[in-house]
Symmetry: C2
C-alpha cells in the first residue's frame, strides 16, 4: 500500500528568489510546491520603494509561471517616514532588518537600533512585523547570533506589541529567547535542522553548505530540530533558500547562502517521519505561519507519497547554475502533485 | 639607512612537499629560503619503507635544484618491528603518527594508541621522536585538538623518554599541555599565529585558508602567537605548508591545507618586528629546533631587508597551480639573498 500525505498550503516564510536569470531559474522550485513565501528584499539594489516592490513582485509572478504561488513581499528597513510606512503596510508582510550597521558589541548594536526606533514605533502601531537577521558582526562568527540576543531583548521589551520574527534561528541560546518573549517568533530552515559545522568542513569543506548564520554544533542543531519537530507554535518553516551560482560558490571567496528549494518538502517529510512526528508537519510548514502572521494563504493541496525522490545534482538554465542542498541525494518522500 | 637582518639556517620543521609536478612547483619556495625542513610522509602511498624513503628524498633533492636544503625525512608510523625501527633510526628525524584510527572519544583513542605501544617503546629506546597530528575525529571539529589531549598525556606519561612533537598546535588548551609535560614540544605555523575562523569565513569563505587543525578563536590565535613571539624553548617554527591545486581548493569538496611557503620568512619578520620581538626570530625559526631535535643543519645565511615584498597571487608551472597564503598581499620585509 502506498503511503501518501496531503499538505494544505505549505508556506516558505523566508525565501530569497534573487532577480533576472537566477530568479527565472529558482522561482519554479518554490512555486511548484508552496502556496506562498516571504520574499526577502536584499536584491541589488534592495527593495526600498513602493515602485521597486511592485515591479519585483511582478517579475516574481512572471517567473512562477502557471504555478499558484503568493509572494509575501518585504522591504529593506531604513529610515522611512510614518506616511511611507502607513502606505507600505498594505503591501508588505514585514519589514526586514539586516544588521548592516550593527557592530561588535551589544551597546554599539543598541545604539544603531536606536536610530530606527521611530520606525519600529510606527511599525508597532501599524502592526507591521519586524523580520530580523539576528547577528552582530562580532568575532567569532559562531557567537554572532548569541551576541545579538541582548539587542533583540531590548527591542522586544521596548516595543511589546511589535511582532518580531527571529529569522533562520540557529542556536539553542536563541531558542531560549524565543521561549522567553511573547512577541518574538522564529523561522527555522531545513539546513539548521540537519547540519552541523562538521558537515560544512569536518572532512573536506563544502562551500554549498556555507551560510549565515553558520551551521553550528550538534547541540544547537538538535535544539532547532526539536522545536521544529514539535511544531512549537512560536516557530514556522522558512527555508532561507539563498542561491548563488556554482561559480560564486566554488571560488576563493565563496558567498554565503544555501540553495535548498529543490529539497524542501521531500526532505522535511522524511525527517518528520523518521522522528515519528509526521502529524506535526502541517503545522510546521503552514498552520503556525498562518497563526503567527494572521494570513490566509491561497488554497493549494500538495500531495506527497513515500517513494524515492532524488534531489537534482545541479539546477541550471542557459544562463545560471546552482548546486542545491543534498545535491544528488536520495529522499524517501517525493511531491506527487498539486491540486 | 636600510634595515637588514641575517637569519642563520632557518628551518621549517613541518613541511608537505607532495610529489610529481606539485613537488617540482613548490619545493623551490622552501629550498631557496630555508636550510632544511622536516618532510611529512603522507604522499600517496605514504612513506613506510626504506626504499620509498630514499627514493622520495632523491626526488625532493632534485626538485630543490641548486639550493642548499636538507630534507629531514619522516615515515608514516605503523606496526613496524624493532629491527626495522632500528634501521630507520639512522634515516628519519621522527616517525609521524596520523590519527587515522583514532576515533571519537579518548578511551577509543587510547585503545588505538595501545596497538602502537610496542613501536612507541622501541622509539623511546632508539631516541626516535614521535611527530603527531594531535586531533581526534570527534564533533565538533573545533574541539578535536582539545579532545586529543588526554591521549597525548597518556603517551607522555607512559613513555617519559619519548620526545613528542605536538604538530601545528592551534589551541590554548594544547599550549597548556606543552607547558605541563617536559617531553612534549610543539611546532607552530604562520597561519595559526595569524588567522582566526573569522578570516576563514567571517564574511565570504576562503577555501585557501581551510586547514586541519582548523584556525580557531582570537584567544587561541593570540596564545599561539605569544609563545612564538617569545620563542618559548618548547616550540619551533613548522609551516605545515600543504599545497593543494587551485582546482581542488575552489571546489564543492575543498581539501584541507594552506600553502604558505612563498610567504614565510618575510611575513614572520614583519610580525616579529611589529611586536618588537625581532631578536627572537632566530630562535623561533632555527635555534629552538636545533636544541629540541639535537640537529646541526647546514650553514646557510639568509639575508632579509626591510623593503616591500609582494606574495605571489598564484604559483604555477605548466602542470600545477596553487594559491598561497596572503596571496597578492604586501609584506614589509623581503628575502634579499642567501650565503
Amino acid at each position: 500500500m502506498m503511503q501518501t500525505m496531503t499538505i494544505k498550503s505549505p508556506l516558505d516564510m523566508h525565501l530569497h528568489l534573487r532577480d533576472g536569470d537566477m530568479l527565472r531559474l529558482v522561482a519554479p522550485y518554490s512555486a511548484e510546491e508552496f502556496a506562498g513565501g516571504v520574499i526577502m528584499p536584499n536584491i541589488a539594489p534592495p527593495i526600498t520603494t513602493m515602485e521597486a516592490l511592485h515591479s519585483y513582485r511582478k517579475r516574481i509572478l512572471q517567473a512562477c509561471g502557471e504555478n499558484l504561488f503568493l509572494p509575501y513581499m518585504t522591504m529593506f528597513l531604513k529610515n522611512y517616514d510614518d506616511a511611507f510606512l502607513e502606505e507600505a503596510a498594505a503591501h508588505v508582510i514585514a519589514m526586514k532588518l539586516y544588521p548592516a550597521g550593527v557592530t561588535t558589541n551589544s551597546e554599539e548594536g543598541a545604539k544603531n537600533i536606536d536610530s530606527l526606533e521611530p520606525q519600529l514605533k510606527a511599525m508597532e502601531a501599524l502592526n507591521i512585523p519586524l523580520s530580523i537577521h539576528a547577528e552582530t558582526h562580532s568575532h567569532n562568527l559562531f557567537l554572532r547570533e548569541q551576541n545579538f540576543l541582548p539587542i533583540l531583548e531590548y527591542i522586544a521589551k521596548k516595543f511589546p506589541n511589535l511582532k518580531i520574527i527571529f529569522e533562520h534561528i540557529s542556536s539553542k541560546e536563541g531558542l531560549k529567547l524565543v521561549a522567553d518573549y511573547e512577541n518574538i517568533y522564529a523561522t527555522i530552515t531545513l539546513h539548521h535542522m540537519t547540519l552541523t559545522v562538521d558537515d560544512l568542513m569536518g572532512e573536506k569543506m563544502n562551500p554549498h553548505l556555507f551560510c549565515k548564520p553558520v551551521v553550528k554544533t550538534e547541540a544547537d542543531r538538535d535544539a532547532v530540530l526539536e522545536v521544529a519537530l514539535n511544531a512549537n507554535p512560536k516557530v514556522m518553516f522558512g527555508s532561507d533558500s539563498a542561491p548563488h551560482s556554482k561559480e560564486a560558490k566554488e571560488s576563493a571567496l565563496a558567498s554565503a547562502g544555501i540553495f535548498s528549494a529543490p529539497a524542501l518538502l521531500p526532505k522535511l517529510a522524511e525527517i518528520f517521519e523518521k522522528h515519528g512526528k509526521l502529524e506535526n508537519l502541517q503545522k510546521f510548514v503552514s498552520d503556525n505561519a498562518r497563526a503567527i502572521y494572521g494570513i490566509c494563504p491561497p488554497e493549494k493541496l500538495v500531495l506527497l507519497d513515500k517513494s524515492e525522490y532524488r534531489v537534482p545534482a545541479t539546477c541550471k538554465n542557459q544562463k545560471a547554475e546552482v548546486v542545491p542542498l543534498f545535491a544528488g541525494e536520495r529522499c524517501s518522500w517525493r511531491v506527487l502533485g498539486v491540486e
